[in-house]
Symmetry: C2
């Protein structure tokens, strides 16, 4: 069993220790919940019917998610590298959800909205990483204004050039 | 004085404790060095004369930097939020270096290479965050192939559309 003491998670996340212990009395509870969270609560890749809609939907949901104290604590714990088994569990869950994200990009390529030469996983990285970096290093959320700019940049990065 | 015990840094970074103690016998040494590192060692905004050259140069240097164990340990310590004074010192150093990054984007706008409506700080976030997220959550470097794709995406996101 991976060791991920609740006290550490509390210290690292800034959440009250009593709260963490109430939620997760044992490391097993914590790990189980973290995995369930990553499986069930994390955002699904959207399918709005347009690439612009999908980018907007995914990034808007991601802004709220990565600013959650529990999600931030999970990512901070991963960043420390102190619990390799924990990282493996979370990374594995993410890897299993990747095909639906790749599918989101591929549908947009099929609709002619996204350049076929883009690598879908790099696009997902470009969508989510600026929000994650702000959450982890700035320990704050991304402002609506910054979110709008990032959505526009990701859209431009990927969209098929307009017809001449 | 901020407390940032070397033992913790060792545990979090995966660097040997003895190595950390040899480098930084006291927390004060560690903090001083972290600040110096962020002031002196961190990459300067490039000025290659072209936007494509600047994007490539900055991101290529950043890939190596964010994969350094010490840099990763600094970012992981920031992500935990456990040492607010440490975060403040590093964030302050970064804030002071921001004008040169903004200047890099503004020069490209002046040359007509970058769309004037882009927000320079969001562009810098887009350039560096995917590399940082891979370093922190994947605890690995970005492959050359992924770097090339990300450079291309950032360039497309920001470049002035070709003349019709």
């Amino acid at each position: 069993m991976v060791e991920l003491p609740a006290a550490e998670v509390a210290d690292r996340s800034g959440v009250n220790r009593a709260t963490v212990y109430r939620w997760w009395p044992t490391p097993a509870d914590l790990l189980a919940d973290a995995v369930a969270f990553h499986w069930d609560y994390r955002i699904d890749a959207p399918d709005t019917g347009s690439w612009e809609g999908d980018v907007r939907s995914a990034m808007t949901e991601a802004v709220a998610l990565v600013d959650e104290p529990v999600e931030r604590a999970i990512m901070a714990a991963m960043a420390t590298g102190r619990y390799p088994e924990f990282n493996a569990v979370v990374t594995d869950a993410w890897t299993k959800s990747l095909p639906q994200w790749v599918g989101m990009v591929e549908r947009a390529v099929d609709r002619g909205e996204v350049r076929p030469e883009v690598d879908p996983i790099s696009v997902v990285n470009l969508m989510l990483a600026p929000l994650i970096a702000t959450s982890l290093l700035g320990r704050r959320g991304t402002s609506l204004q910054d979110l709008e700019m990032l959505i526009e940049l990701v859209y431009r990065a990927t969209a098929t050039p307009p017809e001449r």
